[in-house]
Structure formats: C-alpha cells, structure tokens
Symmetry: C2
Subunit: 428 residues, 2 copies
C-alpha cells in the first residue's frame, strides 16, 4: 500500500478497483468451513499495474546518464476490481505484458511511447487482421499519472469500440514521486523521464469479436497454430492405408511451402469420429483451411478445400492447391482485414451537431437494440462541457486520432470554435 | 475459497500459505493515508496453484472419452505466503508455467507425468547445463493431493539441494473432489485421471547458483541472449572507422555460423565508455564470449577472445576463431555441465549409519559454516521413524531416485531392513 500511495493521481485513479490482501492464512471456522487468519500489519494491494514498484527499483538502479535508458518488460497477472466482468474483455484479473522504460530526455521517452504504440498497431493490423485507429486519449480518459496516453482503438462487429493497447508517456510524474534521479552529462541532478505500455489477453477477445461468425471462431492465417487441417475420409478400414498414404504425401508437400516467412503449419486429424462432427470441430475453432481427402479425391488426384472465410468448399487439383496454398492464405489474411475495415468505414460518420449525435447513438432496431451507432468523428472544444451529454448516451471519447487534418471547425455540442477532432463511440 | 475447499488434502497443504483478499477498494483514512474498504462477502484466495479452478472447468468440458485427453498450460503468477523469502528461489509471488491434463486411463496419466518430468530434466541438463536427479517425492514431501510427485533435484554450489521442477500424478483425487466424470467407450460413468506439472522463475535462481562465480553471472551458451559480444577498442576517433569496419565484417562472419541449430547471436558494444568498465559490464552479465578488437589486432588480422568459464583471454587468428566458434561454444556448454556434475559427484556420499549421517550434515569449517554436507544416499525403511532426526539436522529427503539398483539394505538410522534408497540433503 505504501508503494501505491506515492503518486497522487495514480492512487486516485486506481483506489476504487484495488483488491486488498489483509490475511495470510486460513483456519477452520466453527461451521466446518474456513476463515481468514493471520492478519497483516500493512495490507497488501494486488498491483493493478506496476509503475510504482518498478519505479522504486529504477530509483535504486539509476545513478548516472550512462545508466539510461533502461527497459523492463514483464508478463504478469494484474488485478483491477470489476463489478461487471465480460469474458476476455474485462476481467478482474488478467495476464498482460507491461513494459517500463526510463530515459534521460523527454524527447527520447516520447519517441519510445510512439514506437511502442506503432508496434501494437502493426501487430493488430498485420497479424490479427484488425484495423485500428492510433491516437491520444483526452485528459479525462488518460492513464492515471500519465502526461499522454496513446491508444489503438478497434471497432468490433457490434460497432462498439475496443481499446486494444496503450502506451503512456509519464513525463517526470513518477520519477518525481519516486526520486528517480540521475547525474546528467553536464554533471547536474535531473529527474528521469519514464514510459509504460501494455497489451493483455483482451486481444484474444478482440480477435474473437472482430472475425468470428455464427459458426464460431475465425483465425487469421498468420496467427493460426494450424493453418491447414487435413481430414482423411474413408468408410471401411480397408481404404485407410491408401487414404493415409495420400494424406501423408500431401502433408509433406504442404509443409514444404512457406507463408509469411515460415513453413506452413499442417495438422492431420485422423481421430475416429463422425466426419460431420470432426469437420465442425475445426470450423468452430477457426482453422483457416480444411482439406478433405477421400477415395474419390484420390482417384481424381484432387482435394476438397474449405476456406473458413467463405461459405462453400471447392474441389481443386492437388498440384494446383499445393502451388497456390501460400497465396490462398495471404488472400484470406487480407480478406479478413478488408472485411473488418469495410465494417468500420461503413459505420463511421462525421457529425457536426447534437441532434445527429443523439440520433446516431440511439438504438433504432428493436430486435437488436445492442447493435447501433459506430464511430462518430466530431470536432469538440472542451471535454468538461460535453461530459453530461456523453454520460447520458453512454458514449466515450475513444481518442484524438494521430492522423487528422484539423483545419478547424465548431464543437458538435456547444457550437464553440474547436481545433481538434475526436472519435466518439460506445465502448467495451 | 469455495474452490479451494473441495480437495481435503489439498486445502490442508496450502491453508497456511494463502493470501486472502477481503476488500476491493481503498478509501482515505483519518490519518491522511489509505485503508481497505468494500468488504467481500466471500473472501478470495489468491491461487497458490490452479488444480481446483481448472478442475472445475474440466468437470464442465469433459462428457465422453472422446473429449479426452485435454491439456491446458498457463503462464500465471501464483502466491504462497512465505515468512522468509529468498530472491528468485522463494518469493511469496512467483511467475510459473503450470500444465494440467485430464485422461481416460491411469496409464496414460502416469505416462504424461513422466513425459513432463523428462522434458524438465532435458531442459535443465541440455539447456541450463545443470545436472539433475530425477525421482519421486516421499509421502510427506508430496504435492498436497497427489498420488505421486516426480521431481528434478539439482545441487547448488554451496551443496544445498534445489527442487527445480515437479510433475504430479493426481490419480482420481481431484476428479472425485470435483466430479470430473466421463462416459467410457464401454458406456460407463468413470472418474477421470489428472496430472499437473510446473517450473517457475526459480530456474533463474538455479542458473545463477549453479554457474556463477566471484565475477558474476555465467550463462550457458545455449541460453545466452547474446553468445558473443564484440568490444571495439580505439584511442582516438580517427581509428574508429577502421575498427568498426573490421568489427562489422567479423560480426557478419560470426552470425553466418550456427550453434545448436540457430545462427550465432552477436552483439557489438560500441558505447562511449572506458574499456575496462565496458568489459566488466559483460563479464558480470555472463556473456559466454568477449571478443576485443583494436588497431593491433587488425594489423595481425586476429581477435582477442575471453571465455567466461576460463580466466585468461587469448589471441587467435580471425579465420581460425570464426571457423571454430561453434565448437568453442559447444565446449563451453559441456564444460559448465561437467563442472557442475563434478561438484555433485564430489559431494555425494553413501551413508549407512546415523553417526556418519550426523557428521556429514554438521558444519566443520568455522569460516564458512553454511557450506557443508551435500547429497547423502541412504537406505531408509520408514519416513516417520526418521522424522525427528531430519528435523534436528534440518535435512530433508529430496527424492527416491528413479534410477537405482535397490538390491536392499538396512536403514541408516534404525537399522531395520529397507528396500529403497533416497537422496538426503539440506535444501532451499
Ligand atoms: Zn486442432
Ligand atoms: Zn549486453
């Protein structure tokens, strides 16, 4: 608790969602169950994030400008108490990667903050096939204690926004609170500049909500553990040898191909199970390509290929399939990205007045009231003045996009002159 | 808490080391600090391990023998309350990998338990260069709720034992406690068989305590992030261009070589820093090979090479060094293993009577009383009967080694006939 107390804004931001450990044992209670025992002198807070404890370490390590920069990255579970949880997206405990850096100059720390949000954007777009908007959070939405919070925001299929990763420029706030001080090249005592950045298992939720359909999960080929599953089909055991020989040859031909710089990953599912059930098993799990092989396919030296992003399976000559399989996977990766981008573009509007804003964020379809809205791009002058409107509509400012031609306009709500546009949306 | 309560032995084993969350907020206290608020109806236990919660999930997933086996592996932080902590080796919270499997048959679950301890032993010996003894824990040392706990035990340089990884055959204990029931191929309801296994960041401590010397860390080449660091040396800036050209060529020649199946990892440290200080930086961090290159080396087309496991650096013709670098790394990997194995063999004794046992585990060197003992291999008849002796000497049974010719003998302490030998040691 004494760690967390150090940075005032930080503790204020997290105080309402801290899990507090007060005891360190269990003992039998009279009713035959267990009860807490061994009360702690100072309660322990389960870290909601690790700036304060890692900052205390940096304060010990950093003496001179020669010690800088330092980067620590850790994978750790953290806990933020949530009243309403949602699988993958919002859980009290989550596994994440949190990076923390400390620098001699403001410029270098800002550069690091930007580099990391670009790393996250690259991963989201080029690996997860999930388009994102890169921008800054407004003051009210910023990480507690940060000077600037960069974010990547994605649109889910129900048109809600999901914050998928953040990178914070912390200025000297934490170094002042924690005395991270170094001797500069000129011999002066200076406070260091810090950053932090993270993504979590929330990205698994993002993947599901971006690409899944009524049949289940859809996996972008670059991320799929198995990019192809081969399903051998035979009625009676006498056919098994022939089919499995063909399957093994096919597997070898496919794994000899490369896609996105690595050998193609192929799985053969030879389990004893009904064909339809087995196929369904892999459809649900989102395997990009299913290849069915039975005696008839062998006769024609062909394969029967189902692409997870298309409804119908097609027969293809085996040689043609093997020669083009990397291209097919590449097309599928691009198609998933394009599909998600199209959804976002179709559901992004520019709004310059309150009436349109209210209409956009009010459900119209009575059967699916939860699917409505999208991203509204609006000029706004001042965060505080629109706070009540946003609360009423349950809308939040997702970010001030990095790429904008802010030639200037008027605030959609107050009509006052405004210089910046933001993305507004309902969000997870 | 209700999860943990299910398996009786399990909860008994962990009740004394559970961190208990009782509140979920902080509020200002009158003294100007913070105090816990938001009391929970049911206290939350921070998992010391996840058998109970993963078992509850398996109970939902498993219906038929067709659903089996299942394997879940997770990286997660867990917490076991410790009064006396020791960096890396024993910390209240630690990051580990925990795997959990569920099977239709006892045989298959036992096979999995053994497979995983072999995976850990292979990693310890062939990657960490740390020899280990594979064996079973005795009943008193077993994982709470396990039928059999397999362990890998290593000897640290101070001759203490370190348990470096465990794999548990849980029988049907957890499946009965949690109702993990499936319909067998014959159509009958049966309880499943489960296993769990894990290693933790304790292995970082094991690495340090196995190989480090007075100069710091020593990294086995197979694990080293950089296997070679090149240190360019020049007095005045005019020499820089020539030296860096030579260094870049050398770097390319080295990274074109492979060791242990991957391209050799080379780092160039061109920081502006005193030569001695820079060299020391990499010695302390245990980089396997340091290569110094200055104008004189360039004249002779040679390099000056320091091996972290040897005291003296040597000059070598550049071509010879490049051609043999993979061999050198391989020798160093083997040398570290051999050195550790020699230490263990020199400090392992066979003991058949209590007097020798007492003498072995009693410090003799007054200047370093903490370094004494080692591994004692002794026949023993019955764990309970030697319990007091072991407590008095602070010795534990590390394991009953898998590979032993247990032809039979007498218990070292009681003189009673005994059929199994165990490794006894002081331990971390
Ligand atoms: Zn699969
Ligand atoms: Zn280094």
């Amino acid at each position: 608790m004494s760690f967390l107390e150090k940075e005032a804004e930080h503790v204020e931001g997290f105080a309402k969602e801290c899990a507090v450990v007060t005891h360190h044992r269990l003992e039998p209670d009279p009713a035959g169950g267990l009860r807490p025992a061994g009360k702690l002198e100072e309660p322990l807070i389960i870290r909601p994030t690790s700036e304060t404890i890692i900052g205390a370490t940096y304060a010990k390590w950093v003496q001179s400008y020669r010690d800088l920069p330092i980067l620590i990255n850790q994978w750790a579970n953290v806990m933020r108490w949530e009243m309403r949880t949602r699988m993958f997206l919002r859980t009290a405990e989550f596994l994440w990667q949190e990076g923390h850096t400390v620098h001699a100059t403001s410029e270098e720390a800002i550069e690091e903050t930007e580099r990391m949000i670009d790393v996250y954007a690259d991963f989201a777009e080029n690996w997860m096939a999930m388009p994102v908007i890169v921008g800054s959070k407004t003051a009210a939405e910023r990480f507690p204690g940060a000077v600037d919070t960069l974010t990547i925001e994605a649109m889910m299929q129900d048109r809600k926004a999901l914050q998928a990763g953040t990178s914070h420029f912390l200025g000297q706030n934490f170094s002042k609170a924690q005395e991270i001080v170094f001797q500069s090249e000129a011999g002066e005592r200076e406070f260091a500049w810090t950053t932090s950045w993270g993504v979590s298992t929330r990205l698994v939720g993002a993947l599901i909500m971006t690409h899944s359909d009524d049949d289940g999960f859809v996996l972008p080929p670059r991320l799929a553990p198995a990019q192809i599953v081969i399903l051998p089909i035979y009625r009676d055991p006498s056919q098994r040898t022939e089919v499995m020989q063909y399957v093994e040859t096919l597997r070898n031909e496919l794994t000899a191909q490369s896609y996105a710089g690595t050998p193609i990953r192929v799985e053969v599912d030879d389990r004893d199970m009904r064909g339809g059930e087995k196929k369904w098993h892999h459809v649900k799990r989102g395997v990009p390509l299913r290849v069915e092989v039975g005696p008839k396919d062998i006769e024609k030296n062909s394969v029967f290929v189902g692409r997870r992003d298309q409804p119908k399976s097609v027969g293809l000559p085996r040689g043609e399939f093997v020669a083009t399989v990397a291209t097919i996977l590449g097309e599928m990766q691009q198609n998933l990205f394009d599909r998600a981008l199209k959804l976002r573009e179709e559901n992004t509007v520019t709004i310059d007045n309150e009436a349109d804003f209210r209409a956009f964020f009010t459900p119209k379809n009575e059967e699916q009231p939860e699917i409505h809205g999208g991203f509204a791009t609006c000029y706004f002058a001042d965060e505080a003045s629109i706070d009540e409107l946003l609360k009423e509509l349950k809308v939040t400012i997702r970010c001030i996009p990095r790429d904008q031609d802010a030639s200037g306009g008027v605030c959609f709500a107050t009509g006052r002159p405004a210089t910046q546009k933001a993305i507004f949306a309902k969000a997870y």
